[in-house]
Symmetry: C2
Subunit: 340 residues, 2 copies
DNA sequence: CGGAATCTTGCAATCGTTTGCAATTGACCA
DNA sequence: TGGTCAATTGCAAACGATTGCAAGATTCCG
């Protein structure tokens, strides 16, 4: 009889227990590395487990322990559905997040949602019982909904902009300061009439714009011209060209909400024969890899993506442990290259 | 007594059943939308569920039904650990995958693994019991291990290169054909001595190289010069510069394994004062967004990433349903811009 | 009005693992 | 030898949802 059993596949802890001649409970303890089981028993169990390639079922384990070992990462596609596909910033952040979470022994469950068509996107994710905590990448235009949730749910950390007095724990660059740095640089490079390229309904972008505005006002310069633009490269290209037709001669400095937009602007400017930084100065945001490769290379405001990911995971783990954590605001860094 | 209950949170199907005055089984059926329950009963149950924001626990459901509704997506970081962070190709593919899987009602569990330090990365993922199927993004140098698994595990689809007679189901561009197209274009643009920029230990890149070689041999041209390069921008930049010092004067056409590498090469060439395409012609691969934005814009071989993602998900679902599916090879498309 | 057929519902086992509690074993000491 | 104590192990009840089976309730027809 034992012979027959040896041939059968080991599908659960009970099968394995039978093979090892112990009870399921002991197998569970052995595989979990608890100190209660005898060394020899453990070795035997581990040997059989290895031989049969057995791994305890995470679903069952999760159900019993009431924790899954999975962190949810959700990307709300708020004001601009195709945004994140084109924007390598979020994807890079996601890569670092995956690394950090793995290092901490967590798995990552990724979900992209369209809040407009799915109003309770966040409740659904949290309520599924599949995740121990959630990281929201980008507030987009969902600030209020996130605030609502934060009221009753602890293990959530958000990447985005910090607003005075907000409830939810956020990690992000000081966008307003970054905006100031950008404007200061543009002005130092000789610009007098600035424009902001990007859609300010996204709260992060609004803060960058506000920062730049601070400087413009302080310096007594004419107020900035807003050039709202979608983030998908196809649409943005045209929109930028249109903006330049309308305002190209009035402005001598552009602050782009994103390096991606800045790169597109650079192309559009070249096509119109506008010299950068001679006629128009240009500053981007993010310091993505592309910023080094444009011609001329882009002056930009750097966000430390790796540090951001580390911060997100770190705070989330502390919240998982019951801490009540503060938000983390990272300093932006002006990187001067050749466009301003 | 009912009054007290009304106030308590509804944490499971049993609580809800008590509130609704029915049995847990009925609640389960109602929430699952089965036709067996009376319309009025269902409405009542749904109303209470909505009121309390109750959602059935996915872990428990998964355990009982023996399926999780989660698809694993794993990125092996094989020959070049930092690869995928810089390479937006994989990240874009991931974005489309997330969309497709969501549309089919599946969640996506993402895992990045380093096979060198974690030999049974694939077994572990599959054996965890957390996923119904797995999509492997990129064979890297793990072809053999993937073959091993495919022998006994059905619901797996791999993005990568198709090799004659292989076991595992793969979706990918015809890299060899793409390589041919690239070489033909370089030669048509006047190149006589070609070089291949990239690391051919990755099987996909090896196929691109082989395709280009086909053409070179057929035309009776001198054989290609290999310029092995890592994919991370920091290292690649230097390596490319070194290559150009060593071979820059001998070659008049470069086929880069990736647009990312091509863009770096373009920068390096400009720095040396080499005219493109005047002195050296250049063709990339992928047609990433960056290909439009280099100066001059990049001639490249386009991979249809969206179609790839659709194919991966489609095949996986069919395999989940028990089909034995064939691999899917997508046609590459030469996009002629200005570098060749 | 009786009986068969059709709807709804409840019951209880099941998925695979974990863990508090109790029982067994052996060691050790007086 | 008896008794105490620690080290191991087994037992069985959870975790929360699903589902085959059977019972109860309705309907329908002649």
């Amino acid at each position: 009889m034992p012979d027959r059993d040896t041939k059968g596949a080991v599908r659960n802890i009970t099968d394995l227990a039978r093979l090892a001649g112990v009870s399921p409970g002991t197998v569970s303890r052995a595989l979990a590395g608890k100190s209660l089981v005898n060394a020899k028993t453990r070795e035997k169990i581990e040997a059989i487990a290895r031989e049969h390639g057995f791994r305890p079922n995470q679903m069952a384990s999760g159900l019993r322990r009431q924790k899954t070992g999975v962190i949810g990462v959700v990307i709300p596609l708020g004001h601009d559905t195709r945004q994140q596909i084109s924007d390598s910033f979020f994807m890079t952040l996601l890569g670092f997040l995956a690394d950090e979470l793995t290092r901490e022994g967590y798995d990552l469950m990724l979900r992209r949602v369209v809040p407009e068509t799915d109003p309770d996107w966040l409740d659904r994710f949290i309520g599924s019982g599949m995740i121990d905590g959630v990281i929201v990448i980008g507030q987009s235009d969902q600030f209020d909904r996130i605030e609502d949730i934060a009221d009753g749910y602890g293990p959530m950390v958000v990447w985005g902009n910090h607003t005075e007095g907000q409830l939810h724990c956020v990690v992000g660059t000081d966008n307003r300061l970054g905006g100031r740095q950008a404007a200061e640089r543009l002005i130092a490079a000789g610009a007098k009439q600035l424009a902001f390229l990007g859609d300010t309904t996204a709260i992060e972008f609004a803060a960058r714009f506000a920062g730049a505005n601070d400087v413009v006002r302080r310096m007594g310069l004419p107020s900035m011209i807003e050039l709202p633009t979608h983030l998908s490269p196809e649409r943005a290209g045209e929109e930028i060209a249109d903006h330049l037709v309308a305002h190209g001669d009035d402005i001598d400095g552009i602050f782009a909400a994103t390096d991606t937009l800045a790169a597109l602007a650079l192309t559009a400017l070249r096509e119109r024969g506008v010299a950068v930084p001679g006629d128009i100065r240009l500053v981007g945001f993010d310091d993505l890899p592309i910023a080094r490769q444009t011609v001329p290379p882009l002056t930009t405001v750097r966000q430390d993506i790796a540090a951001g990911a580390r911060g997100l995971v770190d705070l989330l783990l502390r919240r998982l442990a019951g801490d009540k954590t503060e938000s983390l605001v990272l300093p932006p860094e002006l990187v001067i290259r050749e466009t301003a």
